[in-house]
């Protein structure tokens, strides 16, 4: 095969997407205006749990401009499938029916009780006030441990329990930490997916160990907060039975299937379009009740309908991320070598299961061993229903949770042994490898050079000098102490091999499709099944196609986000787009070249074997003057006046690529903090990230992904956290209270990379969308604990607000034993529960 000269790949081509975005010419869903369009507003429950005893929408109908007002009873037959969940992580998983509009009981604040359709948004919103609802409030379940306690109120009475599922791996006989496994539960196992089994004898490892680190960590709930809130326009397609849904979604192709499953509208009568989408971070990897309601009503009323959520609704009704209680035991010898790891998780589902809710924790399960090579591993995960907003994928989805737990525990281990945290890591790292190598959970990592990233980060940080400064500050009793925190991570990208995804409980279909076609004028269209919402696929895919075809990126137009224009696709999430969708583009473009070669041979009257292709030109080996350009070939293929016998016209090739394995980027981060011990305020002084995501197609885009990812990871560590009160009301209900950091809160990032290609795909690429979010939280918390360890502080929960840090110091000083103190205000749901309002 002809190797394409790498001309554009690897270069920082400016993003093709940006001119429109920065000049306000993007096509957001809310910009769509269709003739006769009406507007939808949702009446949301103010209670976390209540029976609806009376519901009367007639008052709303009397308002001028109101087109309709609907209840769940009225529309129940329109959505036989409810809001579907696409994950089944154990045979016993309890999947409640999730009605787009409730019929008798509300289960979280923001649950939808009724809707109004009106001529404009204001009228619709105001008419909600004319709907009469009587609620009979019931005690809600707002924290996971309480939810599992005997006699707890049930989020779904018909299920008889608040336990959604229990998943175990390697726990057989390991009943000291874990409940005895119930053998009807499905064990992961076989080298199939990220849910591969635990192994070894963790009991024995714990007995043998010189030290056992036993900790509880909390992954607080987070609000994904895409800059563009959710928006949908559903429109009956003129002249057809069918429906078009424009939606600010990450998953037009998945949505088409899910809408069909929910409403019974045949799949081939649904078209989904994702116009420009202003971020998602996983929150738009879902099909929401609002989308289903809009589709159903557009069809019922025969009118285009628009729904745009406001930020308050975005915080109450768009999925939340994380929400996990982690109990972890790490056993090691006095030389720092790990002997075994046991993990027990409670994972907060919220009130209903959205598309992938139960699969999130599972997808991180096999990553708890991190980048360390040891033998004994076991894990148990319970999914728990609460009367809170449903959770689902948020940037990192399962992996940040795992990375945080192991990386925090590694620092505790270093501290316990009086060892340098970098050294403890080195002693447990995998040796560099470039062929798949199993981790302690049996997950096949693709290629690592951990030593490379760690030593480079240490060099960039000037580690020795930092330790000296730290010593000086400690000795002088400076109120501002210096902290140095490490995190060495890996993660799973390139979702994913279809078989492995099936093992994960999410059906399969991890492939991606691309169509590369050359037009008669020599221009190129790439239709991709990925659905970018900020990632810059138009640019990167152009670079890939340009290099393979020997054209320029400007010659290439990338088409995406419309199920009519791109019939097959699996969309964008899980850092899958490049490692799966980009490879499909690469393969399809190569198929074009292969076909072009046959035509060129025909045109040049040479044997196909003698045709060489370079720089967009087919030539005859040995006589370079005899050549045709790929554009000439494309024209000839289109006109089809003279093609090889039996060949179909047109250069138009499709690849549907199913990857053989996931990809595993890795990296080393060092966070330098200054911690004011008098106020608890943490200042990030420096952040060094050395990441390895394999060869880079566009360094500017990769740096952008890292910056954003680091910002969100730092946000989890220091700023963001959902707070509910005991009644299940969202306290952090606006951007005033929910602390998203801005540029002033972030340091200048020092980025560097090493390049360790993945053996799994021909470009060696791995993925980078979530790296920062995964690597950053433990680096930040490790840094704070490092700064405060002379004061006896062993842990600070996230977000490490000034009050938390100050309290950790107070507690440590009051109790010299250094017993771990979980902040009293921390609810076990993983959300902060504020005591009585």
């Amino acid at each position: 095969m002809t190797q394409a000269p790498e001309r554009y790949m690897g270069g920082g081509l400016p993003r093709k997407e940006d001119p429109n975005l920065v000049t306000g010419r993007a096509n957001w869903t809310d910009n769509i205006k269709l003739p006769g369009m009406v507007h939808l507003a949702m009446l949301r429950s103010p209670f976390a749990r209540a029976k609806v005893t009376k519901l009367d929408v007639s008052g709303a109908l009397e308002r001028p401009g109101v087109v309709g007002a609907f209840t769940g009873q009225e529309l129940a037959d329109q959505w036989p499938g409810g809001v579907p969940c696409g994950a089944q992580v154990s045979d016993q998983q309890k999947t409640p029916f999730f009605p787009p509009l409730v019929t008798d009981e509300v289960r979280h604040v923001g649950d939808v009780v009724a809707v109004v359709v009106a001529s404009d948004r204001y009228t619709a919103q105001d008419a909600l006030e004319a709907i009469v609802v009587d609620y009979d409030p019931l005690p809600p379940v707002v924290n996971m441990e309480a939810a599992l306690a005997e006699g707890a109120p049930l989020v779904h009475e018909d299920l008889g329990t608040n336990e959604c599922f229990k998943y175990t791996a390697g726990v057989e006989g390991m009943d000291e930490l874990f409940d005895a496994p119930d053998d009807t539960q499905q064990e992961g196992g076989g080298v199939r997916g990220p849910n591969v089994g635990g192994q070894g004898d963790t009991n024995e490892a714990l007995r043998r160990a010189d030290v056992v680190i036993k900790e509880r960590y909390i992954q607080q709930r987070l609000l994904p907060t895409a800059i563009e809130p959710r928006a949908v326009v559903a429109s009956p397609e003129p002249g057809h039975e069918g429906i078009v849904m424009y939606s600010s979604t990450q998953i037009p192709h998945l949505a088409k299937i899910v809408l069909s499953l929910s409403t019974g509208i045949p799949e081939n009568q649904i078209r989904v379009v994702a116009p420009d989408v202003g971020g998602g971070f996983g929150s738009k990897l879902n099909v929401y009740r609002e989308e289903i309601i809009a589709v159903v009503l557009a069809k019922k009323l025969g009118m285009p309908i628009k729904y745009v959520e406001d930020r308050s609704e975005n915080y109450q009704a768009t999925i939340h991320g994380r929400g996990q209680i982690q109990d972890i035991e790490l056993a090691a010898n006095s030389d720092g070598k790990i002997l075994g790891l046991r993990v027990k998780l409670l994972d907060d589902m919220g009130a209903y299961l959205q598309l992938l809710t139960p699969a999130i924790a599972i997808s991180g399960a096999a990553l708890f061993p991190g980048v360390y090579n040891f033998e004994n591993f076991a894990i148990e995960i319970k999914g728990v229903f609460t009367n809170l907003t449903p959770t689902d994928a948020y940037r990192g989805a399962g992996r940040p949770e795992a990375c945080y737990a192991i990386e925090r525990a590694m620092d505790s281990l270093a501290h316990e042994l009086g060892m340098d945290p970098a050294e403890v890591r080195r002693r447990n790292f995998f040796e560099p490898f470039d062929e798949p190598t199993a981790n302690p959970a049996g997950l096949e990592y693709d290629s690592f050079n951990l030593q490379g990233v760690l030593e480079r980060a240490i060099e960039l940080a000037d580690y020795e000098a930092l330790r000296q400064e730290q010593q000086r500050r400690r000795e002088s009793g400076d109120p501002v102490q210096l902290g140095i925190g490490f995190s060495t991570y890996t993660e799973i990208c390139g979702l994913g091999p279809s078989q492995a995804l099936a093992g994960l409980g999410i059906g399969g279909a991890g492939w991606e499709a691309a169509n590369v076609r050359m037009l008669v004028t020599g221009k190129v269209e790439v239709a991709t099944g990925t659905s970018p919402h900020g990632q810059g696929h138009e640019t990167s895919w152009s670079q890939i196609a340009a290099d393979v075809l020997g054209v320029t990126p400007d010659d290439v137009d990338v088409i995406h986000g419309d199920t009519d224009a791109v019939p097959f696709g699996r969309d964008t999430y899980g850092s899958r787009s490049l490692a799966v969708g980009g490879i499909a583009v690469y393969h399809a473009a190569n198929k074009v070249v292969e076909k072009g070669k046959k035509i060129a041979a025909h045109m040049l009257e040479a044997s196909e074997d003698d045709i060489e292709f370079e720089g967009g030109r087919f030539s005859v080996a040995g006589s370079p003057d005899q050549n045709v350009t790929i554009q000439d070939v494309a024209g000839a293929a289109y006109l089809a006046a003279s093609l090889p016998e039996g060949m179909e016209p047109v250069l138009n090739e499709t690849s549907i690529y199913d990857p053989p394995n996931f990809t595993f980027p890795f990296g080393a981060h060092i966070c330098v903090t200054e911690v004011d011990t008098e106020t608890g305020k943490v200042k990030l002084r420096d952040y060094i990230a050395v990441d390895d995501c394999g060869p880079v197609i566009n360094p500017t885009i990769v740096d952008g992904q890292l910056h954003g990812g680091l910002a969100q990871g730092i946000a989890q560590a220091l700023y963001e956290g959902v707070v509910y009160d005991e009644e299940g009301n969202l306290v952090t209900a606006s951007m005033v209270d929910y602390m998203i950091p801005g540029a002033p809160e972030l340091p200048n990032f020092t980025l560097d990379r090493t390049v360790t290609p993945s053996p799994s795909n021909p470009l060696g690429v791995k993925g980078v969308g979530e790296a920062g979010t995964i690597g950053a939280p433990p680096a930040v918390i490790n840094s704070i604990v490092d700064a405060l360890s002379p004061l006896g502080v062993k842990h600070v929960d996230m977000p490490a607000s000034p009050m938390r840090v100050w309290k950790a110091i107070q507690n440590a000083q009051g109790k010299q034993s250094g017993d771990r103190q979980i902040d009293a205000s921390l609810g076990a749901s993983g959300a902060d529960i504020r005591q009585g309002r």
Binding site: R121, Y122, Q125, D126, D310, R311, S312, E678, T679, K681, Y719, V723, V731, T732, S734, V736, D737, M739, P741, G742, P744, E745, S801, P802, M803, W806, K807, D832, R834
Partner: protein
């Protein structure tokens, strides 16, 4: 995030505004920069049926020399104050604090009259004006009156303003060579409201402290003077600051909320008072 429907009137002059207030009564609200009022309307925490816009009263946008004090027009934007030379020279704490309010767009829209009239005890400017012992000029149907800051702020979002009254001017003293100042704002993010704030105006006298005026932000329903610290510092040596600051939270009643417990706010008030007085002494 969608406000209730309302009507909109433009005030052509202060008298016209007063007249409109009389006409519409308590259904109406004055609108200045809108950066406090509009957000609470969007959350439907306020639902005035008429907004009377003062925004075009350019004649209320000024900083003037009043001899021993500065006169600041009520419609002067935070940004104007942050970049005003006369303010920087004579009463730097006002310009400095104006530059800390929210973010640049808040500073370009928000006004000093608005932030004081709103009477939010988490606002920074109310405690600064309180520490300065400034005064507020109010115009109503019966003419003009001047109210001391200490009397103006009465309760949480309650001021001395009558129903038909408009704030027209704010007066702050010129600080002499021997007077240093500091405004210490403790916030998690740069654009956040203060979790706690401390305004300190400290007069030096022969190597010791002459007098200190300290007002606290977000430590109660109104700006609160830290009187026991002020007393302890009066005529004291700078060495007394650490000890004196320990009583900074005396007489305060801070709230407990998602951002901070009352206990933590009290602690911050002590640490921040110490640091504010130390900074004022060095400035």
């Amino acid at each position: 995030m969608i406000p209730v429907a309302f009507d909109y009137e433009v005030a052509e002059s202060v008298d016209h505004a007063i007249e409109l207030l009389g006409q519409y009564g308590d259904e109406s609200k004055l609108l200045a920069g809108g950066h406090s009022l509009i957000p609470i309307m969007r959350l439907r925490l306020a639902a005035p049926s008429v907004l009377i816009d003062l925004g075009r009263l350019e004649n209320l946008r000024y900083v003037r020399d009043g001899g021993d004090h500065l006169k600041i027009g009520a419609l002067t934007r935070h940004r104007d104050l942050a970049f005003n030379d006369m303010v920087a020279e004579h009463c730097g704490i006002v310009g400095y604090t104006a530059g800390l309010l929210g973010d640049p767009s808040v500073q370009h829209r928000g006004t000093i009259g608005g932030t004081l009239s709103h009477g939010d005890a988490s606002g920074d400017m109310p405690s600064v004006i309180t520490a300065l012992e400034g005064s507020i000029v109010i115009q109503g149907p019966n003419g003009e009156r001047v109210v001391k800051a200490a009397d103006f702020f009465q309760d949480y979002m309650v001021t001395d303003l009558g129903e038909q009254e408009v704030v027209t001017e704010v007066r702050v003293p010129k600080l002499g060579q021997n007077t240093g100042w500091s405004y210490k704002k403790f916030a998690r993010r740069s654009q956040d409201w203060a979790m706690v704030g401390v305004a300190a105006v400290v007069e030096r006298s022969n190597g010791s402290i002459g007098s200190a005026r300290i007002a606290l932000t977000a430590m109660g329903a109104t700006p609160i003077r830290a009187t026991s610290v002020e007393q302890a510092l009066s005529g004291a040596s700078p060495d007394a600051v650490v000890e004196a600051a320990q009583s900074a939270d005396e007489g305060t009643s801070p709230a407990s909320d998602a951002a901070a417990s009352a206990e933590f706010r009290r602690h911050l008030a002590r640490v921040w008072t110490q640091r504010a007085v130390e900074e004022a002494l060095s400035r």
